[in-house]
Amino acid sequence: MSAYQNLEQMKGDFYTQKFEAGKQDGTLIINMGPQHPSTHGVLRIVIEVDGEYIVRSEPVLGYLHRMHEKMGETQTWGGFIPNMGRVDYGHPMAWNWAYVGAVEKLMGIEVPERAEYLRVIMTELNRLTSHLLWWGAYILDLGAFTPIMYAFDDREMLLDILQRPSASRLTYSNFRVGGVQMDLDDKCLELIRTFIPHFRERLPMYHDLVTENLILRRRIEGVGIIDEDMCQRYGCTGPVLRGAGVAYDVRKDEPYSIYDRFDFEIPTQDSACSAGRYHVRVAEMEQSLRIIEQALEQLPSAEGKHIMDKAPKPSMKPPAGEAYFAVEGGRGKIGVYVVSDGSKVPYRVKLRAPGFSNMNAFAEAAKGTILADAVAILGSLDLIIPELDR
């Protein structure tokens, strides 16, 4: 293969070699990762620093490549759903939904209304856990140890709620083609109803403790500019895009399922920096609460409405064809593209991960900043490594 000819000589770590080949004077090449506390897993970033300033950086992916797309071609249509819970452990419900939605498109299945509401409620609750996890971890990266504890207190309450319909705490895979696995029982709905006011009370504390904090503001304001043009070039979506001032949200702009029935806003920030992304995410938590409240009000009663009655067997055979389904995940637009050849096994499953594109913009955003800013930028992108590597 012609493009790889020089790889023959590059034994081992070609990234560092590449950097060293074009090395300037007075710079130092450092490796962040694959085991590094602030990369949230096994991302590796090769950084060339001049003193504390980053001259260039190159993320190295693939340390957690778990062959999801390959598995999509070997598992049955239904058997691939557990994988979706593991692509992005931050917001697995959205991935579940993206895949299930694509297959439903392919097969032309309409989902029972109660199931749709359950999906909305669970996905939004899951979005809260995702944002809380990000919030805590981000502040932890910036050096404060306590906020993550408070965030996890609330997160544990959410996990207790979500554990009921999914029997799991983290890697939810309870969406099924044509429905959801289990219904929300009354106890669970009651828990959600008590959680919402509780969390509304907690949010101001988060703001006082962290958002208003002088040190934090100085750390994130004006750091890591990812503006609208960069978003377009790199394909960034989600809070990164909204932090750049574009009010794009798949839930609003390409309404799927029943999202057009809810009244909610898309928070945006014009600053395009880490602080913008931070504020967008924190504001999104409130919007999620609003959606959940409305969904709970509109939720059809469980009587007579089964959530799984139209669901095909896991060994279903969708007709040949292709379908693309996009949903709004905690990190941005999740797209799943499936191709069927009419057999029990998908012909091709392509997962479009938002984190992949967001991470792509890192190198440009981090150029010229200092090492500590790299951490701030990395955190503000809200990375989940399995999603990057898939």
Binding site: G62, L106, E322, Y324, F325, A326, S357, E364
Partner: protein
């Protein structure tokens, strides 16, 4: 969309059913046209969603998904390239984000993107440079007409029509 594509010799432009496929337009292109089209799309404020390949009997079908923020109009560009020389120009100079997508496609299918600034393995190990996990075995590989349908054709040239010919006939006979 159609205005946008003026001046570009497309192979096939077709409207797609949004409800069942999630996309508005499907465009077949020759490999040489992809960069030009991408530039037009960039100017029309489209952003790149993903780039990937499909292993079919006729060769590799490289797919590009584009979407706009203010208008929901997803476009898929399809480029069919042969197995013998799986090479296609890179659009990384226009959409920087394409660099990683292209490298990933290179990892999975072995499609070479000419002009990609850094075409080294992204997800795979260095040892696995020439191993492409998503290549199908001959038994499993299908023809394009068994997988995709064209949709509501606006314009189409002979080659593409020939590719889908039987499928159309089949659909007709089924109906």
């Amino acid at each position: 969309m159609l205005q946008l594509l003026e001046g570009i010799p497309t192979q096939c432009v077709a409207k797609q059913d949004k409800v069942s496929t999630g996309r508005a337009w499907s465009v077949f292109l020759a490999p040489a046209q992809i960069v030009k089209t991408a530039r037009k799309l960039y100017e029309a404020e489209y952003s790149l969603e993903d780039v990937f390949a499909l292993d079919i009997e006729e060769g590799f079908l490289v797919l590009y998904h584009f979407n706009r923020w203010n208008v929901d109009e997803r476009v898929v560009l399809r480029v069919l390239i042969s197995k013998d020389n799986p090479t296609i120009p890179s659009i990384a100079s226009i959409f920087d984000g394409a660099e990683w997508h292209e490298r990933e496609t290179r990892d999975f299918h072995g499609v070479n993107f000419e002009g990609n600034p850094n075409l080294v393995p992204l997800l795979m190990c260095v040892e696995d440079v020439d191993f492409h996990p998503l290549l199908k075995t001959d038994k499993k590989r299908k023809q394009i007409k068994d997988l995709l349908n064209l949709g509501e054709v606006v314009s189409c040239n002979k080659e593409i029509e020939a590719l889908f010919a039987e499928a159309e006939a089949e659909v007709a006979s089924d109906a």
